[in-house]
């Protein structure tokens, strides 16, 4: 079209537009046919374009997090011995505990306790060395393994030990309102761990709830005693001094310390000191208070007002009389004996205490079902009400992801009532392999993959990576490199699957191109897997469940069937794309502190999202769902994947292969599950977390009102 034609077109356009409506047809008819058609089209477009381009596009804020006043921790990133400190997990009387990473000789993440203040690290280390051999012999499921001790360049001692993601014992019991019996069963495991040490002549010296963390292993709550050996290394031998270090720090927590520890009179500390501390811990688990002046737990309850006592009892899912009955029937005696002032009157060690407790548990006649039965007899209506209550108050089974991380409190709006009793499984899938970072250097992309692979292989998580062919072909020059990355995935024993062409939906690109692209990706995946004797069996068309229209859905289903693939839709998204971008940006802006906050928010978000989906699955399906989790190979995950996995572990999830997940009847989810809920939780949680995101690309992600 020449510029004259262009001008003629618009002249005619305006002539028609400015004419009275009844004259328009005549004017249009007077134009030559080619021009007429064009003008007509433009006029119709003009009328359709009311609010088209009416307002400038908004510039959406990305994940901008609310300001947080925590100051940067100067220790982060510091290399101490073989460990690199990643972030602060918590602070205690003696020092700070960091999550750290060890790269050689094995890759692992550990907890490093850095001792504060002026201490003679030589002496501390010498004492630790003295017991090191014995400590290394402690191998027990209820004891966190001690790895190492050393001194930093500036002379502070540090201790490296197994990292235990979990809650302190008392908090765990209270948060999940465990009945007495369940508390005692957990406590019995603690005793077993301590007994293991006592038999090897090792005394803990600083037993207290915060040194007993409850984590989850294979769906079971497992308490682990941490910090074995540290208190001893930190204190002078028991000759004539007090339990005070050269720096004037009191080692141990007075409330939990035995009389001989608090006011030493030459009595050597032996396992009976630990028994005393364990007695205080037990006392607290029973009645929620420390012994104080009252020596027996039941006396302590009896001394409370009825209201206070009922609160304590309810916290243990019992009534006041029930609680008193349990305490008086043997537990009083047990606790009083552990708390005897004179060590010789206490249990000789944790083993003896365990035997007494175990006998009590076996002989204890009371069963929680008894009062439920009574309720049935009382009235059917009451029964209905009661069952409802019971349903909502099913014993808590999962600790929160906060573990040893004192970070932001974890809100659990859905947690209290909605807890399935069966084991939870999750298959981890990594989408968009290989990841084309936004301008990331090639070396970094390799490093990201390395980090993910390492985490998966060291933890034994059978993750599966999905190859996205569009990613491979976006930049053909790099395709060989990308394929090399995928080969390393395979060699690390991880599985590859095939991924739906992700950039355009079927109606946009047409069935032919859609299929061609998929087949192209398939060829690559097959080529990689063939020498390893495998073939791709999975296919993911990510939004088959939520976002697509019937036409696309049908076409994809036909395709899957024809190709013999298993479809593996996602049930959980870590939403790392959301936080990942903000994380990258914070790093790019040289603000690691902000990046750390984003990392913390990422974990918190996932904890809450999990609550949400568990709530939905119980409300909609009345049962839990076997989850398939979607993550990406991003910088964020290179740093936080380990924590993310911990979070799921702490909720009682075990990681399974994709096949196991797909075969699990719990994976069978009707349309209603996601159909009704979509991803509507995303903006709400993002909002609550103060992460602002533009959701316009997520039709389903409407913020609930």
């Amino acid at each position: 079209m020449s510029s004259t034609d262009w001008q003629r077109l618009w002249d005619a356009f305006h002539r028609v537009l400015e004419a009275a409506v009844e004259n328009r047809t005549a004017i249009l008819d007077s134009l030559d046919p080619g021009l007429r058609r064009q003008v007509k089209e433009l006029l119709i477009a003009h009328h359709g374009a009311d609010d088209f381009l009416a307002a400038p596009p908004d510039l959406p804020t990305t994940a901008a997090l609310p300001h947080d006043t925590t100051s940067p921790d100067p220790q982060e990133g510091r290399q101490i011995g073989p460990y690199r400190l990643l972030r602060l997990l918590g602070e205690g009387g003696m020092g700070s505990v960091y999550l750290a990473e060890q790269r050689t000789p094995v890759y692992r993440r550990v907890a490093v306790k850095l001792i504060r203040g002026a201490v003679h690290s030589d002496e501390v280390l010498r004492r630790f060395e003295g017991e090191r051999q014995a400590l290394m012999l402690l191998q027990h499921p209820h004891i966190a393994t001690a790895f190492d001790a050393g001194a930093t360049d500036d002379g502070h001692p540090y201790f490296a030990m197994e990292r235990v993601p979990g809650l302190p014992l008392d908090q765990y019991c209270d948060r999940y309102r465990l009945p007495l019996r369940e508390r005692l069963e957990l406590f019995l495991k603690v005793l077993a761990g301590v007994h293991h040490a006592h038999r090897r002549g090792i005394v803990h010296r600083d037993l207290k709830p915060s040194n007993i963390l409850v984590t989850w292993i294979d769906g079971e709550a497992v308490p682990k005693v941490i910090d074995f050996g540290i208190a001893k290394a930190m204190t002078r031998p028991w000759t004539k001094d007090s339990p005070v270090t050269e720096a004037g720090m009191i080692i141990g927590t007075p409330e939990y310390m035995s009389p001989e520890q608090v006011a030493p009179h030459g009595t050597p500390v032996d396992p009976r000191s630990d028994v005393y501390s364990l007695g205080v811990v037990l006392y607290r688990l029973l009645v929620g208070m420390s012994p104080g002046d009252w020596k027996s737990p039941s006396d302590r309850i009896a001394a409370l007002t009825a209201e206070e006592a009922n609160t304590v009892a309810r916290q243990r899912r019992a009534t006041r009389p029930q609680l008193l009955r349990q305490l008086r029937g043997g537990l009083d005696t047990l606790v009083t004996r552990a708390l005897a002032n004179d060590p010789t009157r206490r249990y000789a060690d944790a083993g003896a205490m365990a035997a007494a407790l175990s006998a009590w548990l076996q002989g204890e006649p009371w069963r929680p079902s008894r009062w439920r039965v009574a309720a049935v007899a009382a009235s059917l209506a009451l029964l209905a009400g009661l069952l409802l209550v019971l349903g909502f108050l099913r014993p808590g089974e999962r600790p929160t992801p906060s573990q040893d991380n004192p970070g932001p409190a974890v809100a659990q709006p859905h947690a209290a009532g909605l807890q399935p009793s069966t084991a939870r499984t999750m298959a981890v899938t990594v989408d968009d392999l290989p990841y084309f970072g936004d301008g990331l250097p090639e070396a970094e992309i390799h490093a990201l993959h390395e980090a993910l692979r390492t985490t998966f292989t060291t933890r034994g998580v059978p993750a599966i990576g999905f190859v996205t062919e569009s990613r491979l072909f976006e930049r053909p020059a790099q395709a060989q490199d990308r394929i090399a990355l995928l080969e390393r995935w395979c060699d690390a024993g991880l599985t590859l699957g095939n991924h739906g062409y992700s950039h355009l939906s079927l109606p946009t690109v047409g069935a032919q191109r859609f299929t061609e692209d998929i087949l192209r990706g398939e060829r690559i995946t097959r080529r990689l897997l063939a020498p390893r004797g495998k073939e791709p069996r999975y296919f993911r068309f990510p939004y088959l469940r939520t976002g697509h229209d019937a036409v696309t859905r049908r076409a994809v289903e036909d395709f899957l069937e024809a190709q013999g693939y298993r479809n593996a839709p996602v049930t959980l998204e870590a939403a790392d794309y959301l936080f990942g971008e903000a994380y990258d940006q914070a790093l790019a802006q040289g603000d690691p502190d902000h990046a750390r906050r984003i990392g913390a928010a990422y974990l918190r978000f996932n904890g809450e999202a999990l609550d949400y989906w568990e709530g939905v699955s119980l409300q909609v399906l009345g049962r839990p769902v076997a989850h398939t989790l979607l993550i990406h190979a991003s910088r964020l995950n290179a740093m936080y994947l380990d924590d993310l996995l911990d979070l799921f572990t702490a909720r009682g999830y075990t990681f399974v292969t994709l096949d196991e997940a797909l075969d699990d009847p719990a994976y069978q989810i009707p349309e209603t599950y996601l159909g009704q809920h979509g991803v509507s939780w995303l903006p709400r949680w993002a909002q609550e977390l103060g992460v602002a995101v533009d959701w316009s690309h997520e039709p389903e992600a409407q913020v609930p009102r």
Binding site: W6, L17, P60, S696, H697
Partner: protein, 197 residues
């Protein structure tokens, strides 16, 4: 072809092109710092950014441009690049790498499938590139009005032309772009702009 001091005088064009990198950087920085401070859930209006950048870079007294028109021409182009860059980035990073999702109502409307305003934005940008080849001034009006959010009066002042011309060009541009983006009228019912209530 209508005349304009900006596109037809070699000086004006050169100015705008030299200014572009400067303004682009200023806008990006400004956007970044604003976005970081903005309360969650807020968005930024390009208009505000463009005006603030103008003042920051020296306003009327700046030696970098001969007149505000040169600034706004360059700012409009810079803003366009920033918005498009962002939209592309979003498309890449989100989810499994930017699957375009199709809303059912867009399908039912029988027109093009825009999962979101963002997709529309990208489509408008492509059409605008085609328009630029045909009519640079009309395209300039779109950049100023749409991407930089300038008013008709500001656009007219920047292009040193009348309000009436700007209005006329704006009407033409919207009709033309709408047709390019949403297809030929034969198949258009009026596409839904927003999600159902």
């Amino acid at each position: 072809m209508p005349d304009s001091s900006l596109s037809s005088t070699p000086d004006g064009r050169r100015s705008a092109e030299t200014l572009l990198p400067l303004i682009y950087d200023a806008l990006r920085q400004l956007a970044r710092s604003r976005l970081a401070r903005e309360r969650p859930g807020q968005t930024l209006q390009p208009t505000a950014l463009v005006h603030e950048a103008y003042l920051r870079l020296g306003g009327d007294a700046s030696p970098a441009w001969d007149n505000p028109g040169h600034f706004f021409a360059a700012a409009a182009e810079a803003m366009r690049r920033i918005l498009i860059e962002r939209a592309r980035r979003y498309r890449r990073v989100r989810h499994g790498g930017g699957q375009r999702r199709t809303t059912l109502n867009a399908l039912q409307a029988g027109g093009a499938n825009f999962a979101s305003d963002r997709e529309e934005l990208l489509a408008v940008d492509q059409a605008l590139t085609r328009l630029e080849a045909r009519d640079a001034v009309m395209a300039q009006v779109v950049k100023m009005r749409y991407f930089a959010g300038l008013t008709v009066a500001e656009t007219a002042a920047a292009l040193e032309t009348s309000h009436r011309s700007v209005n006329r060009l704006w009407t033409e541009a919207r009709a033309w772009l709408y047709r390019e983006v949403h297809g030929t009228p034969a198949s258009i019912a009026k596409p839904p702009k927003s999600s159902p209530p």
